[in-house]
């Protein structure tokens, strides 16, 4: 076990899976020499056939991943920023997501699309800082993975690669340099299993991706006053409702934190899903925190107004618990 960065954990997963299975290959724009670096060095080990720099053609990147997957390969395509997935949206929604169903399981699309999302410190602004994972929840046929630390990143990426379905894999840019314990050996984390990142009694905070860190810090800061349970669903589709429901049964209070704009975001989906079964357990209305319904502005002075911050999370928790 050694400490490593999130981006290194991703690279370990890619390396190990490429060794394990010749059908795995990676592609994306400038992946051998630019960007956040998850694919760095792979070309030396696996050659240019299996580590492919592509033209700037997001529809063809995603669409050709679908096609290669249909033919038994296991492509892991990187889209440089999640915002650019929109260019290949059709190939996910109308092609990749529908194939297994239309072919009655005789075909499958074991592809992974990795994409960095989110904001802060980076100054990407409106077209380079979005958080777009929420919209894919409404497309049947896709799985959604969104790990919040290096350990999960490695285990989940391996599961995503071995999964027979199109998996969208979202990585918050801030996470890449975060460090954590990551075993050198092979391990996987099943898709559809939440992780209780901290146990608590008073309130359930469901947080995703970079928001997990914020939430854990708030839990630590408030530990003398409030016992906060922090749950990271880790995959949004499938969603591990059971773990959240069990927690809410105990705490009676729920806050969902995700960087997506609140309106139509996964926060509301989780709340509604949980209310269907845990309404009678609630002692207080379920609450949600997300970005304002506003494009992400460039200026550091404005950006922090739009996105969820530690302060906003703390304030809402205090509001809920003190009521």
């Amino acid at each position: 076990m050694s400490k490593c960065m999130y981006v290194e954990a991703l690279r370990m997963a890619l390396r190990e899976e490429m060794h394990r299975d010749k059908k795995v290959f990676v592609m994306g724009e400038d992946i051998t020499r630019y960007g956040f670096g998850a694919n760095r060095g792979l070309v030396d080990e696996f050659g240019a056939e299996r580590v492919r720099n592509t033209p700037i053609s997001e529809a063809a990147i995603i669409g050709s991943a679908v096609g290669a997957a249909l033919r038994g390969m296991r492509p892991v395509a990187e889209i440089m920023f999640v915002d650019f997935i929109m260019i290949g949206m059709d190939q996910i929604v109308n092609q990749g997501a529908k194939m297994s169903y239309l072919a009655n399981g005789e075909l499958s699309v074991p592809m992974v699309i990795r994409a960095p999302e989110g904001t802060e410190w980076f100054g990407g602004g409106a077209q380079h800082s979005q958080t777009l994972h929420s919209i894919f929840m409404n497309i049947p046929g896709i799985k959604i993975v969104i790990p919040s630390d290096p350990y999960d990143a490695k285990g989940l990426l391996k599961s995503a690669i071995r999964d027979d379905n199109p998996v969208l894999f979202f990585e918050h840019k801030q996470l890449y340099t975060q460090k954590g314990e990551v075993p050198e050996e092979d391990y996987t984390i099943p898709l559809g299993k939440a992780s209780i990142k901290r146990e608590g009694e008073d309130i359930t905070v469901v947080a995703t991706s970079w928001m997990v860190k914020h939430s854990l810090e708030v839990a630590e800061e408030l530990k003398n006053e409030i016992s906060i349970e922090v749950i990271d669903p880790r995959t949004l589709v499938p969603l591990d409702k059971t773990t959240i429901i069990n927690s809410v049964k105990k705490t009676g209070k729920l806050l969902v934190v995700d960087e997506s704009p609140v309106n139509g975001g996964v926060q509301g989906e989780i709340i509604s899903a949980i209310m269907e079964e845990s309404f009678w357990n609630m002692e207080f209305p379920p609450k949600r925190i997300g970005s304002l319904n506003t494009p992400i502005p460039f200026s550091e002075y404005l950006e922090k107004e739009v996105i969820p911050t530690k302060e906003k999370i703390k304030k809402e928790i205090l509001n809920i618990v003190s009521s």
């Binding site: 053609s57 529809a59 669409g63 050709s64 096609g67 033919r71 190939q91 109308n94 009655n104 005789e106």
Partner: protein
């Protein structure tokens, strides 16, 4: 490789089967006994048959919304396609597709695309898989003239050329996209000229001339198989019927239709050739046509007699899970 007599007769039969099949389906549709989007390939039969004859069993074909001919030419049974159009469990897709998204995994035909041009990137990925696996398969991507204006076409052809992928892009230029004549959707003279924008070889062939199609495809497929590398092949045909079964094409000059119907019906043309070459005589032709008529009748009855898919299967295979891998 020259085509021998037997092959020619078989190819004639296949073209006739496609025509009879689609005549029948169109009639059923117009009688109000069938619903859904139904696009027939009248006038394009020589493309389907010529292409398939030039392929090997391991090759992969991506079809589109106008795909009955492609599947029939590859050997999919008319019964299963008709059953599919009726939404029955004996259909190619167990009733999940209808006419537009047919599949035949046993014959290397993944799900056809109802998104115009939607298969072009996907087919490119199939060729990429072959290129990495070195499995010697060539991939075919079928699409229409209208589809050559969509971004997928551009991104894919650039990628395939760059990576020297074993794929043949076949444009069935039937001169219309729905009600839009080609001059109204693009300004270029020949669609195959677009290949040069990717340093890719491009060819135009008379798509109503079966042997010409076969030979043109054979050449580029063999090259793709041996050396890798894509090609764009434009097959000029004419959509002898409306865009879909319900469309009688009021927007088209009748004279234009008539001219093509008399001079460029690929089946008529090939029949005359075979008669002339004494490979067939009129009696044999009549017999063939009768047999096919019967085969299609039976296929319709098969479809009608088939069961509907079971309600409880409706959400199966949205995801493919491990337990599905036998």
């Amino acid at each position: 490789m020259a085509i021998n007599k037997e092959q020619k007769i078989k190819m004639f039969k296949t073209m006739s089967r496609i025509r009879t099949f689609e005549d029948k389906l169109q009639k059923i549709y117009r009688d109000g006994k069938l619903d859904g989007h139904l696009h027939t390939s009248h006038g394009q039969e020589a493309v389907a048959v010529g292409v398939m004859e030039a392929l090997s069993d391991k090759d992969i074909i991506f079809s589109n919304h106008r795909g009955h001919g492609h599947f029939l030419a590859r050997g999919t049974s008319p019964r299963n396609i008709i059953a599919e159009c009726y939404g029955k469990v004996t259909g190619t897709n167990k009733g999940r597709s209808g006419s537009m998204y047919l599949v035949d995994t046993k014959r290397g035909m993944p799900v056809a695309s109802g998104i115009v041009g939607g298969n072009i990137c996907v087919a490119t990925g199939s060729a990429l898989a072959s290129s990495i696996k070195k499995d010697n398969a060539v991939t075919i991507s079928f699409f229409g003239d209208g589809a050559t204006n969509i971004g997928f076409f551009h991104e894919s052809l650039n990628m395939a050329s760059l990576w020297n992928l074993p794929i043949v892009y076949i444009c069935e230029n039937n001169q219309y996209g729905e009600a839009t004549k080609r001059e109204e959707h693009q300004k270029i003279e020949k669609i195959s000229d677009r290949a040069s924008a990717y340093s890719m070889p491009g060819f135009t062939v008379d798509g109503t001339d079966l042997m010409a199609v076969y030979e043109a495809v054979k050449k580029v497929v063999d090259k793709a198989r041996e050396e890798g590398g894509p090609a764009l092949l434009e097959c000029v045909v004419y959509r002898l019927r409306g865009h879909s079964a319900g469309d009688v094409g009021p927007y088209r000059p009748k004279k234009e239709e008539e001219e093509w119907n008399t001079k460029y019906d690929p089946i008529k043309k090939f029949k005359e050739e075979l008669l002339e070459q004494k490979i067939l005589d009129n009696q044999v032709v009549e017999k063939i046509e009768e047999e096919i008529e019967k085969e299609i009748e039976e296929a319709v009855n098969f479809a009608l007699d088939s069961e509907a898919p079971l309600a409880e299967t409706v959400s199966k295979y949205v995801y493919r899970e491990e337990e599905d891998n036998e």
